[in-house]
């Protein structure tokens, strides 16, 4: 479903990704770990279509399409979803109206009618409750005044509403306490079978709740090693330096 081949990209004259190769198939959960500055967030931003990056080599195919040629909104409508590491606040735009707009945009792209207000409200309330999101937050402006944990849960709530084909979770676990971690993991796991995942994280802890199929280490702009859970254990014991020299 997602094929990244020899991707080279950077900002201005600095190259950040130096030949990334990655394949994600349907129903797979991939995890990327790696030292800070390796390019993990850059990778997720480039996949999502954020401006400011130069792609200097390689290509990315998503659902058979050349992903890098499409603007951000079309990538989302194809089924790509990015849960941001630092979700931005948007004052003046109500959370609930925002959800309605994005769900309707996806429905329109699939040739469906706009969603009915009442059942939709019910669906939002139920999913918010499952994520322990205070109902009040639904009526506030998007992410405005939300704590770090609330922002991350808001990202997962949107993901549950949109049911993407591929969800990229950029450090979804940073700043979360155990309870929030559990609740978010349940949300993610509820989509297994429908959604593939590319999860960026630093810590093994998340992987105890969301069992990955593959773990990759991104270091110095490339994926230098791939493996299963045993790789996570090895990283926890040894850190990254043994890989960086590889």
């Amino acid at each position: 479903m997602l094929e990244i081949k020899n991707l080279h990209a950077g900002v201005d004259s600095k190259e950040i990704l130096k030949g990334v190769d990655l394949n994600i198939n349907v129903n797979e959960v991939h995890v990327i770990m790696g030292p800070n500055g390796a390019g993990k967030s850059s990778l997720s931003n480039i996949l999502a279509g954020k401006e400011g990056y130069n792609v200097t080599g390689g290509h990315v195919t998503f659902e058979g399409k050349n992903l890098l040629e499409l603007p951000a909104d079309e990538r989302a409508l194809l089924g790509l979803y990015l849960s941001f590491q630092y979700p931005v606040e948007i004052p003046g735009v109500s959370n609930i109206n925002f959800f309605k707009s994005i769900v309707n945009a996806h429905r329109k792209a699939k040739g469906q009618d706009e969603i009915d207000a009442m059942p939709f409200l019910k669906e939002i309330r139920e999913k918010a409750a499952e994520l322990n999101i205070d109902e009040q937050l639904l009526y506030r402006s998007v992410n405005e005044g939300f704590s770090g944990g609330e922002k991350k849960r808001n990202e997962i709530l949107q993901m549950l509403l949109l049911e993407p084909k591929l969800a990229i979770l950029d450090e979804i676990d940073s700043g979360l306490d155990i309870d929030a971690l559990k609740v978010i993991s349940e949300g993610v796991n509820s989509l297994r079978g429908k959604t593939s995942f590319l999860i960026i994280t630093h810590y093994k802890r998340l992987l105890e709740y969301i069992k990955p199929d593959y773990i990759h280490v991104l270091a110095n702009g490339r994926i230098v090693k791939s493996g299963g859970m045993e790789l996570a254990d090895e990283l926890e014991a040894k850190g990254y330096s043994w890989l960086e020299s590889a």
Binding site: P71, V88, I90, P91, S101
Partner: protein, 416 residues
């Protein structure tokens, strides 16, 4: 409602008044460079475009009734002006509450006796010399008007290359209250008719009077507009003015407020939304002439394409005006690389015991917010609209005192 052109005979004292100003106008000539508040404007447009002052004798009777009826706001007192002349007015059986009619029918020489030299403004002088019509509203003492007054100034092709000079009065007597809506629009919205509208409105609020005023300016993109609002407020009066400027090629509003009695309050709110090659300008001047008054201004400006939006806000607190509270906020969004925004707050404070503040910003749309919305599948245009709506929301979310009906009417009359 009878729809027919109103006939009028101009009283002699009005004729004399106008003659005094005709002399003044010819002396003053066209040199607008002397006027500070016109600095940003391209002043050649009058000469270049050759607008003609013409007294309209008759209105084209081919205007469709159904078209006009769509303009009306239900449950209100509607006045329609076409090409600057009063065409119809709902004023049956209301004389005990309010006087609503053409200014030519309001015989009160008090308002036409001002000293010619007190006008230092070219356009006001032209207006005084040449006004043909306008509305006069007098709300009687102790009356809280049950329905809003809805005034429509409609223009069409017949106005091409003409100047319409309109002189208007809104007078609220002691303890009275009213809501007034003013709409500028085109009868044929698909044409860019070129004409000049010179509009002068005097507002007098007696003690305890309460006026809520909305102005929706949605004229053709060929129209030129100069508006003066002179407001004098007495003790304990309240004036709230929502000003929405979307149309016309060139528009300059000057809003002068004199707080002359203690405990008076004025709130000036507005949206200046410029596109294409528009030049839209608002100048507010709030004078705290006595103590214990408060004023509040919140204007938002948008400029896109190659347009220009201008806001100049001046506040003067006189020496004796202690305990004055004057706040001004002007936030602006630049939506394109070639758009221009000028903003200038000006505070002249001659008393120590006051609370005054001003805040002006010019920015562009938050690119991370734009990307966030697009990453969820919203197109760039859609995302932009959502952010612009959020920016304007606090002003568009109109005063609670207005009925839902009137709100819908206002929002549908605005371009956006």
């Amino acid at each position: 409602m009878q729809a027919s052109k109103i006939e009028f005979n101009m009283p002699d004292y009005i004729k004399e008044y106008k003659d005094k100003y005709k002399v003044l106008v010819s002396d003053k000539g066209l040199n607008l460079n002397n006027f500070e508040d016109w600095k940003h404007n391209k002043l050649n447009f009058i000469k270049k475009n050759k607008f003609v002052v013409e007294h309209i004798e008759s209105i084209n009777n081919n205007i469709s009734q159904s078209k006009l009826e769509k303009l009306l706001l239900p449950n209100s007192y509607n006045l329609i002006f076409i090409s600057g002349v009063l065409y119809s007015v709902d004023n049956d059986n209301i004389a005990n509450k309010v006087y609503i009619d053409s200014i030519n029918n309001y015989l009160n020489d008090n308002y036409f006796s001002e000293d010619v030299n007190s006008v230092d403004n070219y356009f006001e002088a032209i207006n005084n010399a040449n006004f043909t019509d306008g509305y006069c509203i007098v709300v009687k003492e102790n009356i809280s008007l049950d329905k809003p007054i809805n005034i429509i100034f409609a223009n069409n092709e017949d106005d091409t290359n003409k100047i319409n000079n309109l002189k208007n009065y809104i007078i609220l007597e002691k303890n009275s209250a009213a809501k007034v809506l003013i709409n500028y629009l085109e009868l044929d919205s698909d044409k860019d008719n070129k004409y000049f509208l010179n509009n002068n409105t005097n507002i007098l609020l007696a003690e305890n009077a309460d006026l809520l005023l909305y102005k929706m300016q949605n004229q053709s993109l060929g129209a030129y507009n100069v508006s003066y609002f002179n407001v004098n407020q007495n003790k304990n009066s309240n004036f709230k003015f929502y000003n929405f400027i979307y149309g016309s090629l060139f528009s300059k509003d000057t809003i002068r407020i004199n707080l002359n009695g203690e405990q008076a309050f004025c709130g000036l709110y507005g949206i200046i939304s410029a596109n294409d090659k528009q030049y839209l300008d608002v100048n507010t001047r709030v004078h705290h002439n006595v103590k214990n008054c408060s004023s509040f201004e919140n204007y938002k400006g948008l400029a896109d394409d190659k347009s220009t939006a201008v806001f100049n806000g001046s506040i003067v607190v006189k020496e004796g005006a202690s305990n004055s509270d004057a706040r001004m906020s002007n936030k602006n969004l630049l939506l394109s690389d070639n758009a221009n925004i000028y903003t200038k707050p000006e505070l002249k404070i001659y008393n120590d015991d006051v609370k005054c503040s001003h805040g002006t910003t010019i920015g562009s749309l938050d690119s991370s917010a734009l990307f966030y919305l697009q990453s969820r599948g919203l197109s760039y245009e859609n995302a932009r609209k959502i952010l612009v709506d959020a920016f304007l929301e606090e002003i568009v979310n109109l005063d609670r005192e207005l009925s839902v009906e009137a709100k819908d009417y206002i929002l549908s009359n605005l371009k956006n």
